[in-house]
């Protein structure tokens, strides 16, 4: 039942609005709204009950194993939420003076410092509001760099065909054309193709490493050299940073700029799709172009560095400095982990992924790259199963829901047919992995013995399989009062 279906005209919450109805005489009638908006008219308890019940319809980290590849669904420590919501932190206006925000700014400054170390870069801007904005910032900085040198010939961004969809979309937003570089059978970039593609038109290369194929790009140093020698720059898509945190620094691989998804590696909540946070880090060459504001420190006072002190900046990406509350959560998480804790992230996320891969291999599942190590995630393909039984990767995914597991990422990376991208993260216990492995094995059996059960899944969720085609064809995007 929708909240609107519980609404009654003139029902309202007396506690939740000013008790006296203030008069408004000075706004002329022509500016005034004539018809009330369709907001619910429900009691406080109706609202609380409705949204509490709705919440229970979700799978989430706090309730389910959620091995959604490329999304890094790890435990979100509750302390991060609680401490980011201390009353003074919540109450601070973004345009309140720096003098009233030394505590907040200290956290942000220290977060910048830690992220510099993590990335092996020289400077960090926390301002991008999400991964895609971080990507945008990175590519815009590459463009600003070439522009600053008067180099107008560079119109092309190289993107491996395995890249996240945001990469080409971002390059276009920055006014570039995109050239895709193919991947070889082992998941590495085809070096010869790259060599053939670079030239004076090359502005840069966008890459994530480990790649979206769940393997580490082994020729990264060579790739960096090829691109740099052609005058291009390298942008690192930090979506997969969890695989290397505390083990490998993108700066050491030769990247010039990187964005990080703090909602992945630094475990801020995914919140049903956001908010995220996508800080960018740059080496010396690109530092002048970082988006503002950045938190600076002068004589033990923290302050905003803006366009005034950073005239070459690509500018601002949000009204304030990014998703401050998300950054605070990341800061708390980083302080809880500390140096040693961060080193363990890559180790144990990699251990978990390789363990599931090994166990599933033994049980007859097909790996997309059977000869490679898994990184923090790996790809398996149900192509053979589909050919044999008609059971698709999507069917397996839906059947997993019935068994109490969120599905892995499906049909991504696009290069692998009928695939699952599985990322367990470091915070899952072996027992949970074992239960997942057992569930996968069950489904594989069911696919052959009770095909319809798998193809008809899910059976036990609040709804059965939804008609996505109808959703797109007969658009129903808002509720309308009947009649």
């Amino acid at each position: 039942m929708l909240i609107f279906e519980q609404s009654q005209p003139n029902r309202r919450n007396y506690s939740q609005a000013p008790l006296a109805k203030a008069e408004v005489k000075d706004i002329p009638e022509k500016f005034r709204r004539k018809k009330r908006p369709l907001l619910p008219e429900v009691s406080e308890m109706q609202a609380v009950r409705h949204y509490t019940r709705l919440s229970q319809l979700n799978f989430s980290i706090d309730t389910h194993f959620y091995p959604l590849g490329s999304c890094t669904m790890k435990y979100n420590p509750r302390a991060c939420n609680k401490l980011a919501m201390l009353p003074n932190l919540l109450g601070r206006h973004p345009y309140a003076p720096e003098s009233t925000g030394q505590g907040f700014l200290a956290c942000m400054y220290e977060l910048q410092e830690m992220l510099k170390d993590v990335t092996g870069m020289k400077a960090v801007s926390l301002t991008p509001l999400a991964g895609a904005q971080g990507e945008f910032a990175g590519v815009a900085m590459i463009r600003a760099y070439h522009d600053s040198r008067g180099d107008k010939t560079r119109t092309e961004i190289l993107v491996p065909d395995a890249a996240h969809g945001t990469n080409p979309a971002t390059a276009v937003m920055c006014g570039y054309t995109v050239r895709e570089i193919p991947t070889d059978a082992n998941g590495d970039v085809e070096i010869e193709a790259l060599k053939a593609a670079v030239g004076p038109q090359t502005a840069g290369l966008m890459l994530t490493n480990p790649s979206t194929l769940g393997v580490f790009e082994r020729k990264i140093t060579e790739i960096a050299k090829i691109v740099h020698e052609a005058g291009g720059l390298l942008y690192y898509d930090g979506a997969n940073l969890n695989a290397i945190l505390g083990r490998v620094k993108p700066g050491d691989m030769g990247f010039d700029v990187i964005h990080m998804n703090l909602h992945k590696t630094f475990s801020t909540p995914h919140g049903g799709g956001g908010p995220g946070a996508g800080p960018v880090a740059a080496n010396d060459r690109l530092t002048p172009f970082l988006p503002v504001p950045i938190v600076g420190k002068v004589q033990n006072k923290y302050l905003w560095e803006t366009e005034k002190t950073r005239p070459q900046t690509i500018g601002r990406l949000s009204a304030n400095m990014g998703n401050a509350g998300v950054l605070l959560r990341a800061y708390v998480y980083a302080r809880l982990l500390g140096r040693e804790g961060m080193h363990r992230v890559a180790e144990f996320s990699t251990l978990n992924a390789n363990y599931i891969m090994a166990e599933l291999s033994k049980r007859g599942f097909d790996m997309a790259f059977p000869k490679r190590r898994a990184t923090h995630e790996f790809v398996l393909t149900f192509k053979k199963l589909k050919d044999e039984t008609g059971v698709s990767a999507m069917d397996v995914a839906k059947r997993l829901l019935d068994k109490g597991f969120h599905a892995p990422t499906t049909y991504f990376p696009l290069l692998v047919p009928e695939c699952h991208l599985i990322e367990p993260t470091e915070t899952e216990a072996k027992e949970e992995l074992d239960r997942f492995i057992a569930a996968m094995e069950d489904i594989l059996k069911e696919a052959r013995t009770s095909t319809d059960v798998v193809k008809g899944a899910p059976h036990t969720l609040p709804v059965k399989r939804l008609d996505d085609v109808r959703a797109a064809r007969e658009l129903d995007l808002t509720w309308k009062r009947a009649g």
């Binding site: 979700n58 009233t100 804790g341």
Partner: protein, 466 residues
Amino acid sequence: MPFIPHTDADVKAMLKSIGVNSIDQLFDEIPEKLRAGKLTQVPEGLSEMEVTRLMQARANQDGAYINFIGAGAYEHHIPAAVWEIVTRGEFYSAYTPYQAEASQGTLQLLYEYQTMMASLTGMDVSNASLYDGASGLAEAVLMAVRAHKKARKILMPSTVHPIWRRVVRAIVANQNIELVEIPLCMECGNIIPDSLKQYEGGEFAALVIPQPNFFGVLEEVDALTDWAHAHNMFAIGLVNPTALALLTPPGEWGAKGADIAVGEGQPLGAPLSSGGPYYGFMCCKEALVRQMPGRIIGRTVDKDGKPGFTLTLQAREQHIRRSKATSNICTNQGLVVAASTIYMALLGPEGLERVARTSHANTLALIEKLTAIQGVTRVFDHPVFHEVVLRLDAPVSETLRALEAQGILGGYDLTEHYPHLGQSLLVCATETRTPEDINQYAFHLERIVSKRRLDPPCAVKTNPNI
């Protein structure tokens, strides 16, 4: 090893299953010289108790002030229920609802949100949110250019938030989109529709129409919208959602209504929180829906015909369209949108209107008190909503600093972005400001301003004994 559950026995068993001797060996594909990525600048880990103490100290350091700053972020009361529900693990720690059947909670909530926002703005459809109001405005500009197909210029009034204009510029600049600034009327503080004549025939994709504008002043939205439509451009309404409880929604501006409505969602249940996370809302006419960026939720049915909710129109999105996507936007601000949805459900139309009315009345009460002080005047003579520009006969920055020492944040200093307005500041008193707060502000401002008049700073300097 915080948050890592592995016992030594687990590790041993897992390594054995994989067939390696150590965790290190799992990294053997990584070139050796890259594997030395030890951290040196990250401090040692702290226990939760230690971090708690640290963060409490940081929060205490920042203090709590009586706030009269608005300027795009507004301090409204947020019902206790809002964030107690939003931070339930099922909302807080879920991801984008890719598996719709396992995400009906988030999906239904977002569908309800879309319904509320579309109705509040008077538009046909809404997306499920953008990053914030400023970047949302940039997305509206990009959307208008995409939909218009021909023109790549945008008319952007200087009465739009100056920082938001910078954000738009940063985001659209690389796509050869030109922002043409419309000057404001120095008496009314808004855009005079007649002044737009000069832009006729200039091939613009859209006119941005803020309501209220950055100064709190109401724009002639009907005339502006009709003018835009008459000259083959889209009308983009930039609106404050609280204000919409009182003001004509963009969908009803002029003869045909605005084409796109966009704005900052923060006033609807998000705390000020040093500037984020907030969210941008975006609504549009049905005809433009396939040009709209961001996630969109649709209602459909399951295979038994039972209603359910799912992500729809994904063909627009970057993970399918890649370089041809409408935007690179990926995540939205789901959790903050959840807060807004619950906020709107708890307030209802009557409650939201009361918030708007009281905020407006408080601002007027503040203005009355402050302009009664010698040397404080109201700059623009035009109706406003809950925010007003004042001019002082003293330097704004010094005055604000003196107020801060009394625990008062006195407003937003306009001298940087609008130097031609003189020593001006933008003040706002929402429903959270009490008569006592307002009196305190007036009391201290009078003291500060009059002291300065009686004892000009240079006199102070010449007398070392004071």
